[in-house]
């Protein structure tokens, strides 16, 4: 996929819940950023507005930019949105007779408590399931049965299928159908036949087969995934098709690549058939971007944080690899699809600070004032003190220079409301109370990061922390220090995290075969499993224009100890095809990974080891221009010093004077000694005492202990 004609820009756009971000760059030019509000349900308007904002920075019209664009990468929250607003298709489910309630029963209480906070879980009387996307009345069981080996025990009753399809379409007026049979990931013949029959009987109906969308064990999660895909399928495909048409109409004739939750891109035509793949693709792109930034800076172990208005999100990169989520959910629905693990808590700039009515104990979030009315200090009618107001009260934000001076912050009102609702009830001074709230927020973040690193047997002290998002720079100096991370990087692209991530992504197809084999097994047997996947992958990538030297094929295998439930995806070192040595190496690598993840002594080897899933990740390496580095200047930041004021200095336990710098005037090579505050046009970076902040050749700010 090479650059065509005089087109030379790469454009990436990410549609988030609130904002749509654009990033563009070309060889020899700096990275440009653009931002616009998202515009549901017609998200394309926001996309064009963000592109226009970025185009403006190089003073060309949107159409001209698009005409000169070689690659257009895109991520969108459209599928998440369809689920949250329940605006998908009227969907039916065809499943194995006798197991019609699998979806609505949600494995018992699982669907009732999953996705709730600890407070919610402790209050079962107040809990309920989400109403299912497919009600029981739109589910039909048909006679058929496959067993745990994939053997057909009972042939598919085709007449029953025809009857089920007709009644779902004619009587229940469904527009989409999900098909999910027991053990179909071992033997998909019945599902495929049902797919054919549906296309024959009701060609207008959107169909998803579980064996195609999620060929993995576990009928509840598989059915749920299939239903989500059928439910949102038409919305996703219409969205992608119309975006493609819109871009064509504006002069773009290159490919449209769409981000997936596993952190890779798919060509538009394929993405259109995999609605479920687009779920949570924004946060996934953020982690991919972090990995790319890490590779530029030669860091392989990264804690990638993103803190915006409502949530704090964190993903972990270890040795350059990224873990997939174990039990992903969207809204209250489970699905199984490879998805980069990103965990979050409701702590962002807009998070409301409140005192527990019963105990008077202060807390931050999860309720948020959002963008409207927003924090008190924005003066947009916000009446609840937020974390952003606290940042103002501890001196980190400057009322006059916020967002490049576009909004003047109302410090007086923030102080008044905070006094009334927090400081006075706590019997503390405004400063002490604000400092205390700041610490609670920092501690909650520390605890979250601790949890997700410890959960995998990782020690945060081995990691570099990336601080993305509008609010992260205000807190990272404190929680980064408590975690003891090696250093903190506040990226230049901190405010357009996901869009930046898209720029670094490749086209990625994921294939898998579920089959249980003892480990070790003969290499030939394993290679035979891979053969059809490899053929499919090569054919696919070739059709997308990738030459052999632009294709990477990564093999990995899920292994487990045969009496334990935890499976670990283990990369096949050196790729395939495998020989007997490679099989032995795979088992050894699994053992090492298992021990590292689950702790020493956690493995029970005596009952043997088995391979349960064979995965192929096929990447088409997208050619892209290199990001330019700038020459380094001297360390002295004097030219960027714009003032001095009292701010919270954690080591002092209170407010103390600190230098204030303007990021726009800092040049690569400058080193700022803490305590100091750096204001950028979009965010603020706080360097604590005992730390220094250095601007690197990519204009990232690197915070390190002295």
């Amino acid at each position: 996929m090479s650059q065509q004609g005089d087109a030379r820009y790469v454009v990436a756009t990410d549609v988030g819940g609130t904002c749509t971000d654009a990033v563009l760059f070309a060889a020899g030019e700096p990275v440009r950023l653009g931002k616009a509000l998202s515009t549901p349900p017609d998200f394309a308007d926001g996309v064009l507005a963000a592109v226009a904002a970025a185009a403006e920075s190089i003073a060309i019209a949107t159409d001209e930019l698009l005409a000169r664009t070689a690659l257009f990468m895109h991520g969108s929250t459209v599928v998440d949105n369809a689920l949250f607003t329940r605006s998908g298709a009227r969907t039916g489910l065809i499943t194995t007779e006798g197991f019609e309630d699998t979806l609505t029963m949600t494995r018992g209480a699982y669907g009732r408590w999953a996705g709730l906070t600890e407070d919610g879980i402790k209050h079962p009387v107040a809990t309920d399931r989400a109403p299912p996307l497919v009600p029981g009345a739109h589910t039909r069981g048909v006679p058929e049965r496959v067993d745990y080996k994939g053997a057909v025990l009972r042939e598919l009753d085709e007449d029953a299928v025809r009857q089920a399809v007709r009644s779902l379409v004619d009587d229940d007026e469904v527009e989409a159908l999900a098909v999910s049979f027991l053990w179909s990931f071992y033997n998909d013949s019945h599902e495929r036949r049902v797919g054919e029959l549906i296309r024959e009987i009701a060609p207008g109906v959107y169909v998803t087969l579980s064996s195609e969308i999620a060929p993995v064990p576990g009928e509840y999660e598989r059915a749920s995934t299939t239903v989500i895909n059928a439910y949102a399928g038409r919305i996703a495909s219409d969205y992608i098709t119309s975006l493609q048409a819109l871009l064509r109409g504006r002069g773009y004739d290159g490919p449209l690549l769409v981000m997936q939750g596993y952190g890779g891109l798919l060509p538009a035509e394929e993405a259109a058939e995999r609605a479920v793949g687009m779920l949570e693709c924004g946060p996934a792109a953020g982690v991919i971007g972090s990995r790319h930034l890490g590779s530029l800076m030669e860091d392989e172990d990264i804690i990638a944080c993103d803190m915006g208005g409502t949530t704090f999100k964190v993903g972990v990169i270890q040795g350059g690899t990224i873990d997939y989520a174990r039990e992903p959910m969207v809204d209250r629905f489970h699905y199984v699809a490879p998805k980069i693990e990103v965990v979050s808590i409701g702590a962002g700039g807009g998070s409301i600070v409140s005192l527990d009515p019963a105990t008077g104990v202060p807390g931050v979030g999860p309720a948020s004032a959002g963008a409207r009315p927003g924090p008190v200090c924005y003066g947009l009618g916000g009446n609840e003190p937020t974390l952003t107001d606290v940042m103002l009260l501890v001196g980190y934000m400057d009322p006059g220079t916020f967002l490049g001076g576009t909004i003047t912050l109302d410090a007086e009102r923030a102080r008044q409301i905070f006094t009334e609702k927090v400081a006075t009830p706590l019997g503390m001074s405004v400063e002490d109370a604000a400092i205390g709230i700041y610490r609670i927020a920092a501690a909650q973040i520390t605890d979250l990061i601790h949890e997700i690193t410890v959960e995998r047997g990782l020690d945060p002290r081995d990691f570099v922390l990336h601080a993305f998002g509008g609010s992260c720079g205000l807190l990272c100096g404190v929680f980064g220090a408590e975690l003891g991370v090696r250093r903190i990087v506040v990226p230049y692209t901190a405010s357009v995290n996901a869009a930046f991530g898209l720029l670094s992504a490749d086209i990625v197809h994921e294939y898998s075969v579920t089959k249980t084999l003892p480990a070790p097994s003969p290499a030939a047997e394993i290679n035979e499993i891979y053969a059809p996947m490899l053929a499919r992958a090569r054919e696919q990538l070739a059709s997308e224009g990738f030459a052999d030297d632009a294709i990477a094929l990564d093999w990995s295998v899920d292994l487990r100890y045969s009496r334990q439930v935890h499976e670990v995806t283990t990369p096949v070192a050196g790729g395939g095809p495998m020989d007997e040595d490679a099989v032995a190496r795979l088992t050894a690598d699994f053992e090492a990974l298992y021990e590292r993840k689950f702790g020493k002594g956690s493995a029970y080897r005596a009952a043997g080891t088995e391979m349960t899933m064979f995965r192929l990740t096929a990447r088409g390496l997208v050619e892209r221009p290199r990001v330019e580095t700038a020459a380094l200047n001297g360390a002295d930041p004097e030219a960027a010093l714009i003032g001095r004021r009292d701010v919270l200095v954690e080591a002092e336990g209170g407010l103390a004077p600190a230098n204030i710098y303007d990021f726009e005037r800092l040049v690569p090579g400058n080193v700022v000694a803490g305590p100091a505050v750096i204001h950028t046009p979009i965010t603020t970076i706080v360097v604590q005492s005992g730390q220094s902040g250095r601007v690197d050749a990519y204009r990232n700010t690197i915070i390190e202990r002295d």
Partner: protein
């Protein structure tokens, strides 16, 4: 203690438990621990009192406190840094021998500052029947090994002699070793994380925060109790085991800010292992009490302080050694849960403010089927069918109970996929679904239960065995509330397809209803049975209790239940008085029917007669 530090320390204590639970699941790797969440990790103060309870099987929060206290008494002067103690004696603290507690002191600068404790239901305990549930045991001596307290790890080093002795007494010792390792690892994590917390904030402030946390819970709980009316509420639970009928009677009295649970009048202890010990009853009513009354209060010793219990010695709720107790967790403890849920719910429904927190009983029988035998890979497979965690929600005063919606004492249980069970045991499911008409009728309907059937499949021995520990077949154990009916009882059927085949009848290999099965369906409820050849096991669990008068249920809701298949038209007419015509509610006929049913009611005799 300033509010900020207190808030941070409290949050950190939650996290200590979280991380310990994650570790326990990682190391254990077993299905009952990972799928069923049949586990618990909690923190205790230096004197063994509950500091912070985690979300696990809630009966254990208080029992593990007793385990800590027992170790403190028994090992005084011999409790060192890095020690781990094991207790599983039901007459000391545990619920039954299969639930092993490992408790570990947490030291800081050489001083004992706290305890951590955890439990899992271990793979085997060396009882008569593999897995521990032993219907034929007649005393504690045949229920596996039982220790009132033994030091398993000394100063961080495993005592090999002790470990080897324990493992010498159980089946599948490697799996039990894994269970024990997982608990040791969880305790280690709790100790390390507590240590880090104390390093950061200092021993004194942390201790002060812990004391404040306990006091805060007491203050909040007493305040809540004062908001509720004074009174005395009764509940009665029956269960039948073979020839015996047991009663658990509870009178709960609330006066001011104190509650008394009085079990006087409950049946004498049983010959069967459904009895429970004193501390098991104590934990048994706290399991619903924590989530029903303290959903927004930290679960710790402060909640225990306003509570008293009277449990007659030698009764089914306070049995005398050596009475058998291996089925206590699905026996008397469950009845204590249910009776406490009913009494608490009645108290809540007497309050305008708290009526919305009241609920009929969830998953009253806690049916359990334990399987054991060789699986299709010739491995010894022992384990519970996780449908027991499927449960059924009791109706609330404002909403229906949740169909197959779990239970109160284990807030985050779940059941395994059919595909998971079919891969683990040599069985094939014929069907698994929510069973219509099992939820107790009411203005708000109780949640429907689950029904399923199994046959053996690819078993190297032609089949496998199972234990049915079945109270709740004669009696409905999920009581209704405020006029709601109790949920339907459980049913277990051994379907004799083998005999049908021998008699020359065609055995239907793919029935999707009990009625479609070929063989004679024999009712079973207690004991060890084979699942061999073509025979099938059919199980229906009990439905959740209903709330309020069924004649008050909005007809539109009854119609929706009929459409989703959750209520039959027959029950709609006979119990709800809702008459359907052409798929819609016949308003006139419904009004007439409901009037007629009310008239029948008014023709019944006065209760005094």
């Amino acid at each position: 203690m300033d509010a900020i530090t207190f808030s941070i320390i409290r949050h950190r204590l939650f996290r200590v438990i979280d991380e310990a639970v994650i570790t326990l699941k990682h190391v254990s790797g077993s299905a009952i621990t990972n799928e069923g969440h049949d586990l618990m990790v909690s923190l205790y103060r230096a004197d063994g009192s509950l500091l912070m309870g985690g979300v696990g099987f809630l009966h254990h929060l208080t029992s593990a406190a007793e385990a800590c206290k027992a170790v403190i008494r028994r090992f005084e002067g011999d409790i060192g840094e890095g020690d781990v103690f094991l207790t599983n004696c039901p007459y000391t603290a545990a619920l039954h021998t299969s639930d092993i507690y490992l408790v570990a002191p947490i030291h800081h600068d050489g001083r004992l500052v706290a305890w951590s404790a955890c439990f899992v239901h271990v793979y085997d305990i060396g009882a008569m029947v593999p897995g521990g549930f032993s219907p034929d045991s007649r005393d504690i001596f045949t229920e596996g090994f039982s220790s009132p307290g033994i030091k398993l790890v000394e100063g961080g080093t495993m005592r090999r002699d002790v470990m080897d002795t324990l493992l010498n007494m159980v089946r599948a010792p490697e799996m039990v070793a894994l269970d024990l390792s997982s608990m040791i690892a969880a305790n280690n994590v709790a100790r390390e994380r507590m240590g880090a917390l104390i390093d950061k904030y200092g021993a004194e402030p942390v201790d002060e925060a812990c004391a404040a946390l306990v006091d805060q819970s007491e203050t909040l709980f007493r305040k809540r109790l004062r908001e509720l009316p004074d009174g005395r509420w009764e509940a009665r639970q029956y269960f039948d085991i073979e020839d015996e009928t047991c009663r658990v009677l509870l009178a709960m009295t609330k006066e001011g800010d104190e509650l008394t649970f009085d079990f006087t009048g409950s049946s004498p202890q049983s010959h069967y292992g459904i009895n429970c010990t004193y501390w098991a009853s104590w934990g048994g009513f706290f399991a619903p009490l924590f989530p029903l009354l303290c959903y927004d209060i930290t679960w710790n010793d402060g909640v225990l302080r306003p509570i008293k219990m009277i449990a007659p010695e030698g009764s089914v709720v306070n049995c005398t050694r050596p009475a058998p107790v291996s089925l206590a967790t699905v026996g008397a403890i469950q009845s204590v849960n249910n009776a406490a849920c009913t009494c608490i719910a009645k108290m809540l429904s007497a309050s305008e403010k708290y009526a919305k927190e009241a609920t009929a009983v969830w998953h009253g029988s806690h049916f359990a089927i334990f399987m054991f035998g060789l699986n299709q890979r010739r491995q010894e497979a022992i384990g519970i069918l996780t449908e027991t965690f499927g449960g059924a929600g009791g109706a609330r005063t404002w909403a229906d109970g949740i169909d197959v919606g779990g239970e109160i004492p284990n807030p985050i249980g779940r059941m395994a996929n059919v595909e998971t069970t079919e891969a683990t045991f040599p069985v094939r499911y014929l069907f698994r679904r929510a069973r219509p008409d099992t939820g107790g009728p009411g203005r708000w309907r109780g949640g429907n239960s689950i029904e399923f059937a199994l046959v053996q499949h690819d078993s190297p021995e032609g089949g496998i065995n199972y234990v049915v520990s079945g109270k709740g077949t004669e009696f409905s154990m999920s009581e209704g509330l405020g006029g709601g009916y109790a949920g339907a009882p459980c049913a277990y059927r051994w379907v004799h397809n083998n005999e049908a085949g021998e008699a020359g009848r065609n055995v239907n290999p793919f029935p999707t209803e009990l009625d479609e099965m070929t063989g004679e369906a024999e009712t079973i409820s207690w004991g060890v049975f084979p699942l061999k050849g073509e025979d099938a096991l059919y199980v229906r669990s009990d439905g959740g209790g209903g709330f309020g008068d069924p004649l008050e249920r909005e007809p539109a809701r009854v119609q929706a239940d009929i459409e989703s298949g959750m209520v039959s038209e027959g029950v709609a007419a006979s119990v709800y008085g809702v008459v359907m015509a052409n798929g819609a509610v016949d308003e006139d006929a419904t009004r007439a029917r409901r009037e007629a049913l009310r008239a029948t009611r008014l023709a019944t005799p006065m209760a005094a007669e």
